[in-house]
């Protein structure tokens, strides 16, 4: 791959229930994420259709760009804390960032 190594970070994408947004955001702060981006979403998964028609069926999609350790910490925490009881999925990819010092 042509990406300069010191600019490589992890991009964590989490899709989950809107109901736990504030709790999640607190967790991210605590676990060392320097930032995050949230968009409203709907979707379908093992827990059925979540069509965002009203509060109880709304999803959010959270993106966090961070280093590998933070990504590991976050995904471990989310898996332990939320995976069993909440509609939630998560995936990780590698991205190149512009100003590595920001993340």
């Amino acid at each position: 791959m042509s990406l300069a190594n010191d600019r490589i970070r992890k991009l964590l994408t989490i899709v989950t229930e809107g109901a736990i947004e504030s709790a999640l955001v607190r967790d991210l702060d605590r676990l060392g994420a320097h930032g995050y981006t949230i968009t409203e979403a709907r979707g379908k998964g093992h827990r059925g259709v979540r069509n965002a028609g009203w509060d109880a069926s709304s999803n959010i999609r959270i993106e966090v760009v961070c280093n590998a350790d933070t990504a590991a910490a976050i995904s471990a925490h989310l898996q332990a804390q939320y995976y069993d009881n909440y509609a939630m999925i998560m995936w990780v990819s590698e991205v190149e960032v512009l100003r590595p010092e920001k993340f």
């Binding site: 229930e17 059925g48 509060d55």
Partner: protein, 316 residues
């Protein structure tokens, strides 16, 4: 005979459109807007009335209704746990939904008695607010015990700072402070449009209910039965309590409706955070897929009759 209330027809329109999979979707922002307006309007109406009477007179009623709010989920829980064979968390969560109240159902009752020009005590919104909370606390304790682990701070935040309570209580206080004359200037939005806004709300509720009915098959007959029997039982309790508290016939019927209604805003949000292992589909299927349409279509007129009987039999 009274004509069919158009707002009920809006609910049916949403329900049928949803079941027929019509390309009809109300934007989430509009659902939010409409429910904010309803919550504020109900609060304001209650507040204006509070401005007219000494608060002390209402204290006995508030306390009695609080007790009912604690009692109803305690009745529902064993039924769900043992007859329904639900897991502990699920039984506790459903019990909390049925112990609390539905603002949408209340609004339908207000419209129903308004159309018929039947008097009911104007401080009902206060009892509505009072009834929202205790069942949530009971549900959490039923699910977790009085465990040290429960982060009561977070629970209290979820319960008292949820959208529903903040807007109802906020409206109540604003109405109380501003009083009947102060509120005149905002009447066109909050009061004149009330039933139109309620119609839009019920259209969306019909669509949501239709989506919920899909999961009904999965959970079988017990839930269906519970979703019909529990509200009728609660309505009887509410009606007797209303009579005992000296409420008018209309007020008795409204209290019966409040008791019969099952929450789908405040309680689901609180349970999601405080009892996450409870399956939300279960409780929403019951409260939205069964009890809400039952109350809207059949329940309110039934509780009306119920209140008339209670007042007739037990004496005014």
């Amino acid at each position: 005979m009274n004509p069919i209330d158009p707002i009920i027809l809006f609910f049916l329109l949403g329900l049928i459109a949803g079941l027929a999979r019509a390309e009809l979707r109300l934007p989430a922002a509009i659902y939010d807007f409409v429910s904010i307006l309803l919550l504020l309007a109900i609060g304001l109406k209650g507040g204006i009335e509070l401005a007219k009477q000494p608060f002390g007179d209402l204290l006995p009623q508030i306390l009695a209704v609080l007790v009912m709010g604690f009692a109803l989920p305690l009745v529902a829980y064993p039924v769900l746990r043992h007859l329904g064979r639900f897991k502990r968390a699920d039984a506790a969560s459903i019990a909390a939904h049925y112990g609390s109240v539905s603002v949408g159902t209340y609004a339908v009752a207000v419209a129903y008695f308004g159309t018929r020009e039947i008097f009911f005590e104007a401080h009902m919104p206060l009892l509505l607010v009072v009834l929202e909370v205790p069942a949530i606390l009971v549900g959490i304790v039923l699910a977790r015990g009085m465990s040290r682990e429960t982060r009561w701070g977070a629970v209290m935040h979820e319960v008292f700072l949820g959208k529903g309570i903040v807007l109802l209580l906020g409206g109540l206080l604003i109405g109380w402070i501003a009083g009947p004359e102060g509120v005149v200037s905002i009447k066109p939005l909050f009061f004149d449009l009330f039933k139109g806004i309620l119609a839009i709300f019920l259209l969306e509720m019909g669509l949501i209910t239709a989506a919920q009915i899909g999961s009904l098959r999965q959970y079988g007959l017990f839930l269906l039965g519970f979703g019909v029997v529990m509200p009728v039982f609660s309505a009887v309790i509410g009606a007797v309590l209303g009579w005992a508290l000296g409420l008018s016939m209309g007020g008795t019927a409204v209290l019966a409706t409040l008791a019969a209604s099952a929450s789908y805003i405040a309680v689901p949000a609180a349970m999601r955070v405080s009892v996450p292992e409870a399956n939300p589909t279960l409780s929403l299927t019951a409260s939205l897929g069964i009890t809400f349409p039952f109350n809207v279509l059949v329940g309110v007129p039934l509780y009306h009759v119920m209140a008339e009987r209670v007042h007739a039999f037990l004496g005014a």
